[in-house]
Amino acid sequence: MLDWVNPVIGETFRVLSDRGVKLDLLRPEERMVDLADLRVENDLYILKSGTELALSVAGALHALGAATLNPYPTVAMMRNKIIVTRMLKEAGVPTPDTYVASDPGDFRPLLELGPLILKPYRGSRGAGIHIVRKPQELDGLNLDGLMLAQRYHAPDGPDCKIYCIGGRLFGIRRIWPIQKYEDKLGQPFDLSAELRDIALRCGAVFGIDLYGLDTVVSDGRPYVVDVQKFGSYMGVPDAPRVLADYIVAAGTRAMRGELQLSESA
């Protein structure tokens, strides 16, 4: 289930097809789904899409017994940045100080101590993110609903993306915000022991081993600023083959009924 196909995912699908895996691409936005006809028709559903509609359809499939990658309850929970922040704290993962308010005016006093990054509490792919430095900038923002404000830590260099596929970790340095396509690919780098430890803790707290995270290193200290249920894997060497291996293994487990379908993550 996806909303768009990045080159890594496109290539992953080609590898999977070559291995005889039958793939259906589901984009519920672009069809009319009669809910009564919605049935579990595949051995495994891969939740790549970030849309609320796809997630709702995935939730309905999950309730009907579908195996989903990652597990639906975990994916649903990971969309909520308030929950994610608290979980990361629980796991001992360094995050910027985080505040929540329904009225962005409530963030005003926090700006005396430095800039903030404002994010919608449910969001993906950087949509609706603003860096705010001065109180008057809050007035000009067109914000809707519950917001998260995180302390802005000026990065020492490019952001460090960390991707995990079945426990294997990959580090990519990438500038933010992205200006052009080459920026998306970034530069692979060797992860320090500290970043490895942080990345594995993130996966462990959500009980998944297919994910991506964004870290910022500021004054030599890393902070996790975002976690994705299924990364883009752009720039990861040999990503399509590694992903295809992982998906085939997950599909095999799903067909044997071994894939975790736990209700509570």
Partner: protein, 275 residues
């Protein structure tokens, strides 16, 4: 102390009654009130034996999620609450369990609806809406053009013509109550007139509780040509017009708190108030 409450509304009188009864039985109850507040999710931890989730706001559902993941006990339980909030998932689950629901569709492209709109009137509801907010009725395909393109998913349902007014069904454990909601007219607010609960309505209502995992919940039903049809399901409804509600809810909370659990002495309520 955690709470988020809109002070512009008066508190739900049923809840006030419930907490008076529970306090009288020796429960320590905290009701957090804060109209404007800044929260630190990192600092949120479980301090109470039981959390009663009345609110349906994003903020309270998020905090309930944090508490749930830390092992807190919530009433209703957290996962059934978030699943019920999603009308798309709920419609599919109820249908799969044999509960009568209107025919339902989802799409991100309203143009695709013109074929079904030509065959029947449709009701479009935001997938996570409450109290009829954002609901559109489409009587013929031409009206689709005037429906604003939704930013959030919508559940599209066949409009079910009903005999009489919509039936508001409230459930407390195994107790089922029903009322007809009259329309607000000439400045007179809508009134709820208690109605008899037929065997069929009772059976459907209790089945919805089994499927959803909720114990305190409400249903909107329409008395259609082929019998009652469920058009909405909510956790912890207002219980407006249910005279016996307060003592029954108090009993339900007390039993729930005692279940597989040491005697509970503290109850905290997460509520936004809605009359």
């Amino acid at each position: 102390m955690l709470a988020f409450r809109n002070n512009s509304r008066s508190p739900n009188q049923v809840l006030v009654g419930v907490f008076d009864i529970l306090r009288g039985r020796g429960f320590h109850i905290e009701i957090g009130i804060a109209e404007r507040m800044l929260l630190r999710p990192e600092e949120l931890s479980v301090n109470h034996d039981l959390y009663v989730l009345k609110s349906h706001t994003d903020l309270w559902l998020s905090l309930a999620g944090v508490l749930h993941l830390q092992g807190a006990r919530l009433l209703n339980p957290y996962l059934p609450c978030i699943a019920t909030q999603n009308k798309i998932m709920t419609a599919r689950r109820l249908h799969a369990a044999g509960v009568p629901v209107p025919r339902s569709w989802v799409t991100g492209n309203l143009n695709l609806l013109s074929v079904v709109a030509a065959e029947r009137p449709l009701v479009m509801k935001p997938f996570d809406g409450r109290r009829g907010n954002g609901v559109h009725i489409v009587n013929e395909p031409g009206q689709l053009a005037s429906v604003p393109s939704p930013r959030r998913p919508v559940l599209v349902q066949e409009f079910v013509p009903g005999r009489g007014e919509e039936l508001k069904v409230s459930v407390i454990g195994r107790e089922v109550f029903a009322a007809h909601q009259s329309r607000a007219t000439n400045g007179k607010p809508a009134q709820r007139i208690p109605a008899t609960v037929s065997a069929e309505v009772r059976r459907i209502a209790l089945r919805c509780g089994e499927i959803s995992g909720l114990g305190l919940y409400g249903l909107d039903m329409i008395d259609g040509i082929d019998g009652p049809v469920v058009v909405d399901l909510n956790y912890f409804p207002s219980y407006k017009g249910v005279r016996e509600a307060a003592p029954l809810i108090a009993d339900y909370i007390e039993d729930y708190a005692a279940e597989d659990f040491p005697r509970s002495t503290q109850v905290e309520t997460a509520q936004t108030v809605g009359p």
